[in-house]
């Protein structure tokens, strides 16, 4: 991790790490952007990994350019978001899992919340809630009162969830962090901005931080501009 601040062992020992997965419709990553925006997190560094596809672009919230993996922090909320902006290289998935687990262990996070999405067709029943939740033995009941969800068994394989599934199983079996939870939204691909808002709201509820929920009317990140294409040509119809 390359950062302006000193990040030594135990720096984030009582923090929760929010880590999205590249999955169906990029919902986890979009939700992480909403959390960063709503929670007013600030950039504290970058994760320099050889396992991620290289990307670089204008900062989605203004400010410095963005890279493939960035760290955003809120000291007040004791939360760090490790935002991933590009997919894991196909030939380095295992290496990425190792690097992610090592990073989480070195930073000393108390808990990790993984945000992901899975294909709608992988729900057990159409009537089941669209949100699935799984918790490790150290965090067995991540859902707050009143949140509707489908319990996910740790060994259940979900289609489209990306590396969130294997990462959850690795972290759940590890002694550090203390607790790991996986929040997974079942959806299809299309305009997934609404799904991102739904997942961000669920994450805010799980973390007990209502201030992280998306605020209506707040400007969306500039990286969302044209996310689903530009307007059709006038006169086309």
């Amino acid at each position: 991790v390359l950062s302006d601040k000193s990040i030594g062992p135990g720096k984030w020992s009582d923090y929760t790490c929010v880590l999205p997965s590249v999955s169906v419709g990029n919902v986890g990553q979009l939700a992480a952007d909403l959390i960063i925006s709503s929670g007013r997190l600030y950039s504290v560094g970058y994760w320099h990994s050889a396992s991620l596809t290289p990307v670089c672009g204008p900062g989605p919230f203004g400010g410095p350019p963005c890279t493939a993996a960035e760290l955003w922090e809120s000291e007040q909320r004791r939360i760090v978001v490790l935002q991933l902006r590009s997919p894991v290289l196909a030939c380095r998935r295992r290496r990425f899992l190792d690097e992610a687990c090592n990073l989480i262990a070195e930073c000393g996070f108390a808990r990790v919340l993984l945000l992901a999405s899975a294909w709608d067709s992988s729900r057990r029943e159409p009537s089941c809630p669209s949100l699935g939740l799984a918790g490790s033995p150290g965090w067995p009941n991540p859902a707050p009162e009143g949140l509707e969800f489908e319990p996910l068994e740790p060994e259940r394989r979900l289609s489209g969830v990306g590396l969130a599934g294997p990462l959850f199983r690795r972290l759940a079996a590890d002694s550090r962090p203390t607790g790991t939870a996986l929040a997974c939204l079942f959806c299809s691909e299309g305009d997934n901005s609404g799904h991102a808002g739904q997942l961000a709201e669920a994450a805010a509820a799980i973390l007990g931080q209502p201030g992280l929920a998306p605020v209506p009317g707040r400007p969306l990140p500039s990286s969302w501009r044209l996310l689903y294409g530009s307007r059709p040509v006038e006169g086309l119809y």
């Binding site: 596809t53 599934g165 990286s223 530009s230």
Partner: protein, 308 residues
């Protein structure tokens, strides 16, 4: 999905977010290699750098084991490399070394004499008229999996703390995202993305190239270079020209000369940092340009007609 039977197998849904090979049966074990086995595991691929005797001597002589360099210019793709050759490199540049990618063993690299188009080495040159300027030609495609190692190798022989960097590259015009309809876009378009260190030092003041608008992104080697510079606080600028797809850094078998229009797209970058201080020549030497454009297999004496 249907198993064996009389009915055709339903193809798995494809997502822009999820790798095809990341199916639900993968449990974090051995890497499957992706892409139906066409790619081997990352441990097999590597990059290697070979330096000239003069470069090795300079490395050994210094305390910090780095080459003298205050400015590094990197061209990615045929058009960017052609532009740097025509406008910056000159006829008497010294070859310092090369970086080769995709070899099965680390340390195995082409020799410095293998300068043919089909030898996919990325050469590192020093300008004799301005010895503090190094130019790296990454004309050969560098796969995303090799970008990290390529950049680490390249920067390992340089003093990053006293370096200014510019990288030139191309991306398809069709990938440029704009509120305007794609049919109305007229290429080539030139855009620039600068690191915080370059902006912070005021080196970007008055530059002539439009900033890269969100949500457009850099990819490949230019992205890796700028990312590393951003992380390590190196003043750096990436100039990307959105050009017709045929002129982009693409398939390795396309040993074609660069398109003059694509090369000319980079001209406004000559007025920007750090290219401005490399004393580039515009218009470029016409003989040099002709040699560049004629440098293709079978260009000398072969019949231009497929059917005779």
């Amino acid at each position: 999905m249907a198993a064996d039977g009389p009915f055709p197998k339903r193809l798995p849904e494809f997502s822009r977010a999820v790798d095809d090979s990341e199916d639900s049966d993968w449990d974090g074990g051995e890497d499957q290699g992706g892409d139906s086995g066409r790619l081997k595991a990352s441990d097999v691929r590597s990059c290697a750098m070979r330096l000239s005797p003069a470069a090795r001597q300079q490395l050994a002589a210094g305390d910090r084991r780095v080459l003298d360099c205050s400015t590094l210019l990197v061209g990615v793709g045929p058009a960017a490399c052609g532009f740097l050759t025509a406008c910056v490199l000159g006829d008497d540049a010294e070859i310092l070394g090369l970086i080769s990618c995709g070899f099965p063993e680390a340390g195995l690299a082409n020799s410095l004499g293998q300068t043919a188009l089909g030898d996919f080495g990325c050469f590192l040159y020093r300008l004799k008229c301005n010895p503090q300027v190094l130019v790296c030609h990454a004309a050969a495609p560098v796969p995303p999996a090799d970008c990290h190692e390529f950049v680490e190798l390249l920067l390992s022989v340089l003093d990053v703390e006293s370096l200014d960097l510019a990288v030139l590259g191309t991306q398809p015009l069709t990938s440029f995202q704009s509120a305007e309809p794609a049919s109305s876009l007229v290429g080539p378009l030139l855009r620039c993305l600068r690191s915080s260190a370059m902006l912070g030092q005021g080196k970007a003041a008055g530059d002539a190239v439009q900033q890269l608008e969100p949500p457009n992104l850099l990819t490949g080697l230019p992205a890796q270079l700028l990312s590393v510079c951003q992380m390590r606080r190196v003043p750096a600028a990436a100039f990307v020209a959105f050009v017709a797809e045929a002129d982009c850094d693409g398939e390795p078998h396309r040993l074609l000369p660069p398109d003059p229009a694509a090369m000319a797209a980079f001209r406004p970058a000559l007025a920007c940092q750090p290219l401005r201080y490399c004393r580039p020549a515009w218009p470029p030497n016409s003989d040099r340009v002709m040699r560049l454009l004629c440098r293709q297999p079978g260009a000398n004496g072969s019949s231009a007609y497929l059917y005779t």
